[in-house]
Amino acid sequence: MTRHIVPVRTYVSVYAVLIALTATTVAVSRIDLGEFNFIVAMTIAVIKAVLVIMFFMHVREASALTKLFAGAGFFWMAILIVFTLSDYLSRGWLPLGQWWR
């Protein structure tokens, strides 16, 4: 078939980056950055996930359709989380009897 065969080097270098990122995220977790701990950890996790998806799961060479479906999953999960959270975050916004009237 026309499938492109990825060289071992690519796999191994992606792997090296993944391990390095794991080490980074563990290291950063020991430094107190306040809310940034969360942001840094999640950014690293997203980068790792994208690397796995793109290289190990061959989405980089895949059709637009596969890319679409791979993206849709994360998008829909974001909808679930963001809309649910929008309720929790805005619950306290309404002070007693002072709004609107």
Partner: protein, 218 residues
């Protein structure tokens, strides 16, 4: 590549091997989509409670064994690499390498599960299993901590369940490979289970920081 010789792999309702393979790949991705949403429900619950009880969360994350968690992360990422290499060997039609990498992947998967058992055992000893026997030293957070441990077990438990299923699938692949069922032209199951395995890896890539790392410094 020689496809015509492999017509016995083509199921009656497809026209071409290409169509059949594209269908499998798309089907697998749609399946992974459902998996994302399945875990998504728990990530949603996690986000809500982390936002509601940040202090309790910081407090419980101290009981997560970072060393074991990090080891497991490395183990799983390595298994992803071996899986990717297994798929590559299948694409090239190298049977011995295929089997070797599949066995390695399976082995790493089992190590992961073994470490998980150790971790669960720690929780058991500490009475950190939610339910009637739950104890938490910091009385202020007793209730919230229980919810967070509940989420910990639900998320890692579901993940481990996926790992166990994945291990079963890998074992099947190994048997199939030994029986010469795969060739450079047809090895769809290896690719599909590869995708599944990487997906399970990705879930862990998120679980690890969320459950073990964030909030540790508080």
């Amino acid at each position: 590549m020689a496809i015509a010789t492999h017509n016995e792999r083509l199921r009656h309702h497809f026209d071409t091997a290409e169509q059949q393979e594209e269908s499998s790949t798309l089907g697998m991705w749609v399946f992974l989509l459902t998996e994302i949403m399945f875990f998504g429900g728990m990530f949603g619950a996690y986000t809500v409670y982390r936002n509601m009880y940040p202090d309790a969360f910081a407090s419980t994350s101290r009981f997560m064994n970072i060393t074991l968690g990090a080891i497991n992360t490395v183990v799983l990422i390595t298994s992803s690499l071996t899986m990717a290499l297994a798929v590559r060997s299948a694409q090239l039609g190298v049977k011995r390498a295929l089997i070797l990498f599949l066995v390695l992947t399976l082995l790493l998967g089992c190590i992961f599960l073994g470490v998980k058992v150790v971790e669960y055992h720690e929780k058991w000893v500490d009475h950190h299993i939610p339910g009637p026997g739950f104890r938490y030293d910091d009385a202020r957070y007793f209730r919230q901590a229980q919810i967070l441990f509940f989420l910990y077990f639900a998320m890692t438990g579901m993940h481990a369940l996926h790992m166990i299923i994945g291990a079963g699938l890998l074992a099947t692949l190994i048997i199939m490979a030994r029986r010469d069922r795969f060739s450079a032209a047809w090895h769809t199951p290896v690719e599909m289970i590869g995708l599944y395995w990487h997906f399970v890896d990705i879930v862990w890539i998120f679980l690890f920081p969320l459950l073990y790392l964030i909030g540790r410094t508080r």
